[in-house]
Amino acid sequence: MSADDALLVRRCLRGDAASIQTLVERFQSNVLGLCIRLLHHRQDAEDVTQEVFLRVFRSLKRWDASRPLKPWIMTIAVNRCRTWLTQRARRPELVEYLHETAASAPADDAAELAREIQAALAELRPDYRLVFALYHEQGLPYEDIAEAVDKPVGTVKTWLHRARLEILERLRRRGMVSEVEHELS
């Protein structure tokens, strides 16, 4: 994967348009997903996703080919989302779209559970939500998350554990608890 990424990056640096498109397609869902999770707004998330890729290609020369490409791109995405959130905090009239994604889901049990988890995520502290999304949705290991959020691994683990406990507590309050008796025997 890393060798593949390295080859793709080399082609991108030469200005090959097809390779640039391949790189965008390979990572845009991850970036967009994280942006939606952190910004709670599809249009904002798409704008930020575009900004992220512009920055990715601007600084592609500085990417360390010995490291995987995805965490590096996700670090840029985290930073852009944080900047966007800071700017949006100065525009309070734009904050009213927090549950947009959850509200648009269909109303069966699975959708209900997904909606509940998303609502729980939306209520988390931004730092907790960020590490939760990077770990459980983006599949990044603790070390890469620590680098992306610029915190020690211990802090990342603490934030993730607290995030999980808050979500679990909400699910329990809402009665979204699986039966466990026979599974443990």
Partner: protein, 221 residues
């Protein structure tokens, strides 16, 4: 295992690990932890249900177009910078060549030096000249005043029609009559008036003599 340890085990499971066997015993006895475990199972399942946002093809095209446009702009700017640097280097090279061609060689420098006017003499000489002139004019003025006073005395003497040849020789110690006293006083006044000037002139002359070795005195052949 207590409730806190079970929470730790729960995180291990959510991290992809296995649930330890002793946790089952605790769950059987602790309703709170049992609920928490059930919620964790719901979370694990629910995470697979979360919608994976798919980027619209339009977004992909928009991103790629923006990246390529920025790349073109960057290349244009880089090309302009290279052009400007090359131009500046050419101008600098032309100026350097021109300067090298105009710089006189060592032989030329000697000729140029000969053609140049002689450097100005040291300013001390000029100052000494000024001082000499000032001293001369001052002395001349005092001498003139003295001469005028002498003329005045002579005219007074003429008016009195004194026989100049038969004038008695005055002895310094002898008491003088009032008229003679005034004449001697006048002489002393003139002498005492001139004295500071003569003293200054002597001092100035000594100074010039001391400073003279600094100047080269042209020798007469």
């Amino acid at each position: 295992m207590n409730c806190l340890e079970l929470q730790g085990a729960l995180h291990d499971v959510l991290d992809g690990g296995r649930f330890p066997p002793e946790a089952a015993a605790h769950l059987a006895d602790c309703a709170s932890c049992r609920e928490l475990y059930g919620a964790a199972q719901s979370l694990t399942h629910g995470l697979t249900l979360l919608p994976r946002p798919e980027a619209a093809p339009l977004l992909t095209q928009s991103i790629v177009a923006a990246v390529l446009a920025e790349r073109r702009r960057t290349q244009q700017v880089r090309r302009r910078i290279v052009l400007a640097v090359a131009l500046a280097a050419s101008v600098a090279a032309v100026l350097l060549v021109g300067w090298l061609l105009q710089t006189p060689r060592p032989d030329d420098k000697m000729i140029v030096n000969k053609a140049l006017p002689q450097p100005e003499p040291p300013k001390l000489i000029q100052g000494a000249e000024d001082a000499r002139t000032a001293m001369a004019s001052l002395t001349e003025r005092v001498a003139g005043q003295t001469k005028e006073q002498a003329k005045l005395l002579m005219s007074v003497a003429d008016a009195l029609e004194l026989p100049m040849t038969n004038l008695p020789v005055l002895k310094v110690d002898e008491p003088l009559d009032p008229a003679a006293k005034s004449l001697r006083q006048a002489t002393q006044t003139v002498a005492s008036g001139i004295e500071p000037i003569t003293r200054s002139a002597r001092r100035a002359f000594t100074f010039f003599v001391n400073e003279m070795p600094m100047f080269e005195i042209p020798q007469k052949n």
